[in-house]
Symmetry: C2
């Protein structure tokens, strides 16, 4: 941006333009703006009502580490305990670096962190499971992460799992579902909050629900948030999602703030629905399922010859919090 423009809040030179708010801000005031926005989102959707302990899902990417930083910074104001959790998928160097950056970030913030190794839980890495199942990577990874995060939160007695889904991703996902109607799990609905069911579903919260991807990127740069620079080796945006994203961007350019307004309207719809109540416990592991057998037990019946849900729960229960780069999940 034009380096002559002054910050709206002080005398410094502005370094960020926030089009939908018609604000030019210096680094410091952008940081404040961003954090207040997240806190307002938490308030607007009552994300932390009745919540004492939050488990923050950390991939190692900037979205989750920005989320972690802000939650950590305001944990006393918000009245919550913050703990990180990272799933090591066993994707070679990519996973090693992810694990390292997650542990470093938690250590820097003085937060406890769990590291869950997929290999230790299920005897196979994601790569090995992909080979065995021939399923699309994102679909298999999503299934595993959802099951593991949900089960971990329940076993470890957390009230909520926070994830780093942001506005742009959420809108593309929701519109894709609306347009071509392939809804998978109800958990994937990506509302600001998906309220849990005692002992079955952990509450999911998405404090970046109204935050643009670019806002996270700028915050991450200005605040020098350590994060993984590499993108997931399987990252792939299908043409349909790309077309939707392109359209949303064009409308946003024409009408700044459009995405936030849309997300708010979608939130009203999703808050009215109560899909999770319909889930029934899996006959093998008691975790949620739509048909009596959960997705993980169904999967492992094929890959392991037996449902692994109960065994996985048992292993998760015994995992201890990690602090340093060199410790491993036990």
């Amino acid at each position: 941006m034009n380096t002559r423009v002054k910050c709206k809040k002080c005398e410094k030179i502005a370094v960020v333009r926030v089009p939908y708010a018609k604000l030019n801000l210096c680094s410091e005031h952008y940081e404040e703006f961003f954090e207040r926005k997240m806190l307002k989102t938490i308030e607007r959707y009552r994300l932390l009502r009745g919540v004492e302990k939050v488990l923050v899902a950390l991939s190692g990417g900037k979205d989750s580490l920005v989320l972690l930083r802000v939650l950590s910074k305001y944990k006393s104001v918000l009245g919550v305990e913050i703990t990180g959790v990272h799933i090591d998928l066993g994707l070679g160097e990519y996973s090693e670096e992810s694990r390292r950056v997650v542990l470093e970030s938690c250590r820097d913030l003085g937060l406890e962190c769990y590291i869950i190794s997929l290999k230790e839980l299920l005897d196979y890495t994601l790569l090995e499971l992909l080979e065995k199942t021939k399923r699309p990577p994102c679909s298999l990874c999503g299934l595993l992460k959802r099951y593991i995060l949900n089960t971990a939160a329940i076993e470890w007695n957390f009230n909520a799992v926070a994830t780093g889904h942001h506005l742009d991703d959420i809108l593309v996902y929701r519109l894709r579902e609306m347009l071509i109607g392939q809804r998978e799990s109800e958990v994937l609905k990506l509302a600001p909050i998906t309220r849990g069911v005692q002992g079955l579903y952990a509450t999911r919260i998405r404090p970046l629900y109204e935050v643009y991807e670019w806002e996270i990127k700028v915050y991450s740069e200005l605040c020098k948030i350590k994060h993984l620079e590499k993108t997931c080796p399987f990252k792939y945006r299908d043409e349909i999602s790309a077309s939707i994203a392109e359209m949303l961007n064009k409308i946003e350019n024409k009408a700044p703030g459009f995405k936030i307004a849309l997300a708010r309207r979608l939130a009203k719809t999703s808050l009215r629905e109560t899909p999770l109540q319909q889930a029934t416990p899996c006959q093998y592991c008691n975790m949620p399922s739509s048909s009596g057998i959960c997705a993980l037990c169904k999967l492992t019946l094929k890959t392991h010859g037996k449902p692994m849900g109960l065994i996985l729960r048992e292993k998760l229960r015994n995992i201890k919090v990690n602090y340093t780069e060199n410790s491993t999940a036990s």
Copy 2:
């Protein structure tokens, strides 16, 4: 298309490719395909259940004249009487040509047709009203057409008004509404059918609900349907609608038939809703309103200094059917 490809149904050379149906067709079989598609739409959404007399809204463009031709061709099979209606907006040469092509088409098909002159109804042409109101052309024109068509159908005892809205227009409209949420009238919901309310709302049917714009164009060319070549002098597609249309086309290219599938899912939503029941009669003219005064009476209170609804109804009641190019509305 490749001129060596044979028609799927006969030995002739195919002239049309229908991607979503994976069909190559000769002119004759495309005509059959198109007409059957329209008849199936009528059946699928029960558009003519309990309907004896249909008033077909004719702008003079190809959509409405293709609609008229097919309804007219199958009127005995469908068990309905078909009558045309055209509103002369008073837009100079454009309106004169529209009127002429509408009257010619009806005469060729042996159908009765009403011509309604806006100037005779309200003392002003659309141009004059635009000047007086400073409203955007499409908004004002839409308001007038909706009021006049609805009132005419009720005064003349028709069971349904058929309009030429096609798949592409309907999807852009519905998505625009979903994305930026500026819903005007509930009648504008563009479902395949909007069921009426006795004496208040005429039933609206949209037999081209599942028909692509290109299918209409090809049918119109192959069957040499006379229609106005000029486009409306106010025709304008805003950037947001253009972005939506572009996205829908990209997805359709990737997944042929996507638009039809989406329209069918949207139809389920709109059929579940019963918005028209909520309308209350206007205090001046007894036509539908959301707030006690209908849009036309509200408008004419400003432009004419008095609500014109009742006068307009009276004039409409006295309009006689026209047959030839030279007759005028009386």
